[in-house]
């Protein structure tokens, strides 16, 4: 078997009895501990519960149960609640936060037989895009430990990219799944708003919060989404829409489909490597038989300010007491961002919410309605070093963060599904990423188009220099 810690590879090894589920769980915890010493990923491993879950999974495997996540070790961003267990959410203010409920996302992965081996570091309260955390420490990028891993699902990306676990959950309010996936060469999927329940996941801004997976391959992302997707009455914003079979047509290719791409002027500001990777990705799709249609992104002009306004107001409302009573317990950037939310007038907040539907309709009229998916860049350039991007709350920090997140936030605002994936590598060997943006509740097409690109390029098969892969 290849040295691959993907869900599919580990699942195959388990079903072929090349490894046992308990052995795999122990190996994953050991790999996370090793990785933690190098890149700072692990809040807490949970060997006893993980082994108990693994034993149950093994019984099911032995009985011939074919479910694909059975026995696969995962670890998750430390904001997915498990009743009775601390979820500190990357913060000091929630250091003793012990929820009484279990998140629906974890319950569904438990139900699918996945093994949860521990809690992973994240940006403080999920409010940040570079991966810096002034309170609990900053994970490092496995492709280059001097560089940021992206955030806010920072250690989720690092742990999957380095091969410690098969997948990790992240949350995405303004790019927090897709940004770290882009920085670390992974597939990161933000589903349609309401597609995956947020119940029991720490809220940052309920209007824009999404839950989704970070994975090593497109097929793995489809497998995890299949387990997560579906209506949940515990999440009042959950959508009651039918769930597709995400693997049914994933290998069908893209011949005859139409890819939307931004006008050339919308791509101003991309680095040479990012622009080259983007152009090559478009050419790859054309070579695969896909038509291309240019679409103006003018409709998204104010999406960044709109997202910042909503995130600021909703985040400040949630943490208002702590802002007043324990300001010194926050990192400086988190405090500055939350405090600015206290000054968003209610009228402007409500107008920002109302503009979302208009923005989506405008993009549809600009041509999005006529394409199967839209391809846009991810980051403008190679992820910066941890040191050079450690702007804390210095003047102008918001502009820097906005620039970092500019290709991501608009799709939280619109609520449409978006998938980040590697589209090449720069001269230094760092991954360069792009994003496919789909129509509401059409994750199946998004995954199918991403899978065609993955199969053609093999970019998701490259591994970073720092690897703790323990695949059997």
């Amino acid at each position: 078997m290849s040295d691959d810690a993907s869900i599919e590879a580990m699942g195959a090894a388990l079903r072929a009895r090349r490894v046992g589920a308990e052995e795999l769980a122990i190996a994953a915890i050991s790999a996370l501990e090793t990785l933690h010493g190098q890149l700072h990923v692990l809040v807490e491993a949970e060997p006893e519960r993980a082994q108990a879950q693994a034993r149950l999974a093994q019984k099911a495997i032995d009985a011939g149960d074919p479910r694909p996540l059975l026995g696969v070790p995962m670890a998750h961003k430390d904001m997915f609640y498990r009743a009775g267990r601390i979820s500190a959410c990357g913060s000091a203010i929630l250091a003793e936060h012990r929820p009484t409920v279990t998140s629906t996302a974890l319950e569904r992965l438990d139900g699918a037989g996945a093994v949860d081996v521990g809690r992973l570091h994240m940006v403080e309260l999920a409010l940040g895009v570079t991966g810096h955390n002034a309170v609990t420490g900053t994970p490092k990028n496995p492709w280059d430990p001097d560089r940021v891993p992206g955030g806010s699902s920072s250690a989720s990306a690092v742990s999957v990219a380095a091969g410690a676990v098969g997948a990790a959950l992240g949350s995405d309010t303004g790019g927090s799944i897709r940004i770290p996936a882009s920085c670390c060469g992974l597939v990161g999927l933000k589903p349609t708003y309401g597609r995956v329940s947020r119940f029991g996941a720490m809220p940052l801004a309920a209007s824009l919060d999404h839950v989704g997976p970070l994975c090593r391959s497109v097929r793995d992302a489809a497998l995890v989404l299949q387990a997560l997707a579906g209506h949940d009455p515990n999440d009042p914003l959950s959508a009651d829409e039918p769930v597709d079979n995400y693997l049914a047509r994933i290998e069908d290719g893209v011949a005859g489909m139409v890819l939307g791409v931004p006008e050339a002027s919308d791509l101003d500001g991309l680095s040479e490597a990012a622009l080259a990777a983007f152009d090559q990705a478009v050419q790859t799709y054309q070579r695969l038989g896909c038509g291309v249609r240019r679409i103006s992104l003018a409709a998204l002009e104010n999406a960044n300010e709109l997202a910042t306004t909503i995130i600021g107001a909703e985040g400040a409302a949630i943490h208002a007491n702590a802002i007043r009573e324990r300001p010194d317990a926050f990192g400086p950037q988190t405090l500055a961002r939350l405090r600015s939310g206290l000054f968003v007038p209610a009228t402007h907040y409500l107008q920002a919410l109302a503009l979302r539907a208009r923005m989506l309709e405008d993009l549809q009229e600009a041509g999005f309605a006529e394409v199967d998916t839209l391809l846009v860049p991810a980051l403008d350039a190679t992820p910066p070093t941890i040191e050079e991007s450690d702007v804390a709350s210095s003047p102008g920090f918001g502009k820097l963060l906005g620039q970092f997140a500019r290709w991501f936030r608009p799709f939280n605002v619109l609520g449409v599904p978006s998938l980040a994936m590697p589209t090449g590598f720069d001269g230094a060997g760092m991954p360069v990423a792009g994003q496919l943006v789909g129509h509401p509740f059409d994750e199946a097409t998004l995954l199918r188009m991403a899978r065609a690109f993955e199969r053609e390029t093999g970019f998701t098969e490259r591994r970073p220099p720092t690897s703790v892969s323990h695949a059997p």
Partner: protein, 64 residues
């Protein structure tokens, strides 16, 4: 509003109430710039553009 530490005019009310704590002035300025950037877009809103319409539009435009 080009200076991040500048206090917007609408906060003069706060000043009249005894002053805004200095550590909040930058936060107020940042919020002010954000919402002003949305003013032109917000001018397009109609009376029936209610804040949570996005969920209905997502459902209407769902593709499977």
């Amino acid at each position: 509003m080009s200076d991040p530490d500048e206090v917007p005019a609408w906060l003069e009310t706060w000043q009249g109430m005894g002053g805004l704590p200095s550590e909040l002035e930058a936060a107020a300025g940042a919020a002010h710039r954000q919402v002003r950037a949305l003013d032109r877009a917000a001018a397009r809103l109609r009376v029936d553009d209610e804040p949570w319409r996005i969920r209905r539009v997502l459902a209407q435009r769902a593709r499977r």
